[in-house]
Symmetry: C2
Subunit: 189 residues, 2 copies
């Protein structure tokens, strides 16, 4: 990173999110994002392929960290225990200082059909990757797919709660309480 | 339905699915579907808005039947019990004589990114509708969303198993065993 661009990526990311929220995703240009961040379009393209990348470039990191956590769970961990490790892996990523950014991102995605589709595809890929990692631990089918999908169910609800307007609990705390709740609810059948 | 078109809709549906599988979804025209079914394009448009509709026109029926089953579950049913009623609702719809059609449909959708996105959107809408129906039963949050997402998790895995090549169990039997399995897996955490 150059001397005159301390955290250029972070500034571009926040500038983009502000513009998406203010004037809409469709109407926001790369030039406007760069200008708001006090940088050039050329610098923007050093970090992101296009404006959509600003919203989704974190997805691969997220998936890799969840899969790695699932892989390195203790050998005697049950399938659901291993999934709990995967769900807790992004706790540092979903930190307090990233919550406002995540809230803006969620509202931008909810307002745009194409972005919502992309988010659903990312989650479907994440589920498939987690199921594959469970099978690699020796978990058979349908257990691997069922636990992966149930894990994504917890992840969706946890994330939605974490970005809720008046929510103050940590992502990690929310995940822990939803995993316990799922166990209780499933037992009541 | 006219005298010369017994089950025109069903013939169009199967003709479309055969062509999608044989020459690909993109390459298949409405004219070709109608010709294969021995009907005219005009007749096609009496049943479907476009060729994509052939694949997704069942989704609204499916969602309506699942939501209705959830609503009419016994008053003292737990959230997961009510979800089980919803999941069992399409058992008649996913009958043995529809399994080959469903298998073809699944392979066509898996082979086309745009169709896969649409399928994911339909499932996200189904989840939201089921969560709303649970809230209408007095189930609070996050339980309603968690049970709805867990139900969709079971539905995805159940459907994937039901259309599996060598699968012979009924949809209903698969759903029952996955619900029991989810309870067991969730308890092991």
């Amino acid at each position: 990173m150059g001397r005159w661009e301390p955290d250029g990526e972070g500034r571009l990311r926040m500038a983009a999110m502000e513009l998406f929220a203010e004037v809409g995703y469709e109407q926001t240009t790369v030039a406007a994002i760069a200008e708001r961040a006090g940088l050039t379009s050329r610098t923007f393209f050093r970090y992101f392929a296009d404006k959509r990348e600003v919203l989704f470039s974190g997805s691969e990191v997220l998936q890799a960290s969840m899969v790695a956590a699932l892989r390195s769970a203790p050998v005697d961990a049950t399938a659901m225990d291993a999934m709990a490790f995967a769900l807790q892996a992004p706790a540092d990523f979903f930190s307090e200082d990233r919550r406002d950014f995540a809230r803006l991102r969620a509202s931008v995605i909810a307002a745009n059909g194409e972005l919502h589709e992309r988010e659903l595809i990312k989650l479907a890929r994440l589920s498939a990757a987690l199921a594959a990692a469970l099978r690699a631990r020796g978990i058979g089918e349908p257990d691997a797919s069922l636990v992966a999908e149930a894990g994504i169910a917890v992840f969706r609800v946890a994330f939605a709660q974490w970005v809720g307007q008046s929510e103050r609990r940590t992502y990690s705390g929310i995940v822990g309480s939803l995993l316990a709740r799922l166990k209780t609810l499933a037992a009541l059948h």
